[in-house]
Symmetry: C3
Subunit: 432 residues, 3 copies
């Protein structure tokens, strides 16, 4: 299988990258992000890593202190290590301040987080902007805790450091650009979110291999929210000038739904391309509105930024029970799921790269029969197989793009492109 | 309960006004209208009463003679007064000429009006522009009439006089105005139509108490059709220049439906505000079209007038069985019904007065956490309660009014206004 | 029954014309077309016949050789004439080259065409642009053929000749024109296609009798596809300048569905008129899209031509089982079916001729009562019968045509025109 002449990976390769990245404890800052970006650089050496120092102002925000953690555990009254960061980095609330303390179960409870409705899930909890500490555990385990003196230890530090992010820039033949954004701030979870960086990495590998690119590509691997805000504070003007379509890449790894979340404007190129692709690839895809947003489109589409950024996803964040818990692990994502998310985005890029405005070169229908493109015998039913080509020709009036024609005649733009090439070879169509 | 800092009446006060006005025999002219306006002046001294003389031309119409009636009855062959104006002023056809005559039942029948489908209802019948006389009675009573000589007497007069109407003008801080119109020409009926003048009176009381008014208010109490035509013939130019939204106030007293009837244009400020309010106050409200019109919007929205006048109602005229009969009495309306109609219109005025175009002051989402406006702990589900505020911010791009944003994010404009005030206090929003 | 003062034929006359034309063997060229046009000239002497020589280039096409046929048959091994052109001209594939040959059944089979799913139907098959020969027969008969030597004979010729078409031009009071197109290239079939030329002929008779015509009328009787392409190659510029609405007249003879197929643009005058008429005449009509096209609108609406041509039909080509077989015979069409198709198109022309932009002459509603146009007694329910007139007045603001008002108030434009005339006579409306 290949597109635009380039071979596609199978989903196993994407999944293997997720397996490699899974154990790392990521947060919005710290060495986990750096380690992750380092592994991605092995896949794409073009990836550049940038650091923004703690305290740097970014619009209404400020880069927070850098957080790093070495170890954390709770010992029960008998001295047994019953909660251990080394077994799951979700056990520690993100950005927990250091602690080394003995306390009663009652006192401990106010630092514990669990989900009664999901007794076997460790929830994912963070407190980036208020200094506190906490442990996350299954509600089942929590209910089994016996009174007595507990020993809690979090060996972390909050320091003047920096926020790290990765960026890939691939030039195109025009000044217009396509923007891809994904985030690298989540600890060990699968669909939300290792799927995004893994799929984005393989998209970057495909893009850089293209013989020619119509568009420039800007691909960023950032921490969510503070990362996109910081990035925008540095690149807003050039992005507002150049970006014609962008996708926030998140939740592209499980094998259940396909989902679409539009940009705020709702009718940008990204919106039209994303929905066109899903209508044909996955007609039952779930259509969300911008009111369902929850990731970096919050920043990219905010007033004053107004970028055309949409989300093409598998099962959307917040819409599956395992979301933001330890149940969103490597078993929730799969090679098939990742490949599906990857393919949906490849199709989007393919449509963007290949879209054009075709124009018929002759009034009336051309005589396709003399060129062997039309059946030479007229009998009822016999012309069905050329219907799509005729429909393309009928709408090739020089005012509609392939994408628009595809929407009218209910055909995928990538199939229409083949007809365009055939008809242009016969001199019957011009484009762009 | 109060709005814009002003206390609201409870429905009992509005109902008591209806009780006071109910017995008066009103028509499109005459002393009943004057007596009614006099009672309303006790509630709002700002109400001015105007008179337009019989014979005055008004566009294609002419002010008719003034009609007054003192008494009317039918005596049956035994001399018993079987139909008596003093028991119900609906018994006499509006604008009946005087008569004092004995006649057979057969001859009398051509002057009787009843509704076979509603055997216990006295219908409301008028003949303003053709001189005739008639009595209205229940079909049950009519069927019981025995042959013999009847004596009919109507002690009325049609004279050179004038058409009376009331008007309240309350200045605002701009030259734009809001127009409210209701009618005072119906005799003893409740929903259609004492509810209109009673609710309009209490709206006027609330408006005049406002600390400040963005808009000027023009409130008229007129006879239907000829009154609105006469009023427009005097004020058309200034109203076409100033009125940005108007409401015809009719059928706002029962406690069944809420209803909306749009202006002819259908998309004016009045239309958008009225439907916005009802969508949130009464999601099951009945939506009518301009083809269902039947009151003074016929004039206000006519070609050459083209005012933005819509109707926010309880159960619409013509859509309930008691309509235009004696069954539409004080038992059909209620304090709850009147208060509901009143509140729907208060909400409309509130939205008009408070609408604005908010604009976020910072690119990207602001950091609400540091201002105590956002939860400092991130755990799934925890951010739901700030969703509405975030949605408001996301659409505060300086191009959309609160009303428009409310339609997009499905939130009432009056709730959004509170967020606007909070966010503006933090310096995060500007408006207008 | 008459329209615009002109009497209408009953359907029998249209059907009789179809009976007269049915036996003729028509194709895209040849004497069958000329004979057909000659008969139509007896109905409308204004019909002019034109010839375009073989070899003339027309856009991407070339006028083909002229085809004529005198006789054709298959004799079976016993010498019996089992397939005979004289019994049905569908038996010969259109444009068959001459042949006179003996051959085995096996060899013959590759020249036979039948429809297994319709064992009693002779299919209609043509091969205009590749020289071959063939016979069409019922699948039932084909299955009964026994091995042996068959004798096939087709006495046809393909010669340098010309393509014939007919044209009627009827002047109007403006330079704008209405275009009607139908085709005369189908051999003995009824709904598709003798109904089109027969109905078009009677439309032309009605149009030429009109006292006055707002529009010029261009009516063409052409062979399908090559004929419309050839005609357009000669008249494109003048038609693009003048045609405001056109109808392709096809499949207007059976008595089952009414159907509408829009122009490519979809919102032209022809589209709006055609759908307006069918909504009122046949509310259950079948709405097709331009993707369902299949006749000369393929050319008229092609990029670079872009004429406003729609199709108002009875049962659409391709949508009934008898289509393009011998089962589409004179029993499939009927006087009622033809008259229905005729009337739908008469209504379209009537709406086009009579449309206007009415404007009320007085602000507010006029006092219709004093002119006897409104009931002088007001009692509930009594005003219903003047509702349509009042609705017309309410929308007569000088910006909307009768057609547009009819769409808003759900009334046929031809009924509204009567109100316009009445109200204009009273000085209450002006138009155009």
């Amino acid at each position: 299988m290949n597109y635009l002449g380039k071979p596609l990976p199978n989903g196993d390769l994407i999944y293997q990258l997720a397996e490699q990245l899974f154990p790392i404890c990521r947060s919005i800052t710290g060495n986990g992000v750096r380690e992750t970006l380092g592994i991605l650089q092995q896949e794409i050496p073009e990836l550049q890593v940038h650091e923004i120092p703690t305290g740097t102002p970014c619009f209404d925000w400020t880069i927070p202190k850098e957080w790093n953690i070495r170890d954390a555990w709770i010992c029960d009254p008998s001295g047994e290590k019953i909660v251990d960061f080394k077994r799951s980095n979700l056990h520690v609330m993100g950005y927990s301040v250091p602690v080394d303390q003995r306390m009663s179960l009652d006192e401990l409870q106010s630092h514990l987080y669990s989900v009664p409705e999901q007794p076997n899930a460790i929830p994912y909890v963070t407190s980036y902007y208020k200094e506190r500490w906490g442990f996350c555990l299954t509600d089942h385990q929590r209910k089994g805790l016996k009174p007595g003196e507990y020993h809690v230890k979090i060996d972390s530090e909050l320091t003047q450091g920096s926020l790290s992010y990765g960026e890939i820039s691939l030039p195109g033949s025009s000044d217009q650009e396509v923007f891809l954004s994904t985030y690298v701030c989540h600890p060990s979870m699968g669909n939300n979110e290792l799927s995004g960086p893994c799929v984005a990495t393989f998209l970057a590998k495909w893009i850089k291999e293209l013989h020619s690119r119509r568009y420039r590509y800007r691909i960023v691997f950032i921490p969510e929210t503070i990362g996109s805000i910081a990035y925008l504070s540095l690149h807003k003007e050039e992005m507002q000038k150049g970006v014609i379509a962008g996708f926030n890449i998140s939740c592209v790894g499980d094998n259940r739904d396909y989902s679409f979340l539009p940009s705020r404007a709702g009718n940008t190129v990204a919106d039209r391309v994303g929905q066109h692709v899903l209508r044909h690839m996955a007609p039952d895809y779930k259509q969300y509105t911008f009111l369902d947003r929850g990731s970096d489109e919050r920043q990219y589409c905010s007033p004053g930024i107004d970028l055309p950024v949409a989300s093409v996803m598998r099962t959307k964040y917040g819409m599956y029970p395992e979301y933001h818990t330890s149940l969103d692990d490597l078993s929730l994502i799969s090679p098939e799921g990742l490949f599906g998310g990857y393919m949906a985005l490849i199709r989007c890029l393919e449509v963007l790269e290949q879209d054009c405005v075709p124009k018929a070169t002759t009034p009336c229908e051309p005589q396709l029969g003399k060129r062997g493109l039309y059946p030479d015998l007229s009998m009822k039913g016999s012309a069905n197989h050329v219907r799509q080509m005729m429909n393309l020709l009928a709408y090739s009036d020089g005012t509609k793009s392939l994408l628009e024609i595809g929407e009218i005649i209910d055909a995928p733009a990538w199939e229409l492109r083949k007809h365009v090439d055939n008809l242009a070879a016969e001199g019957l169509l011009e484009y762009d």
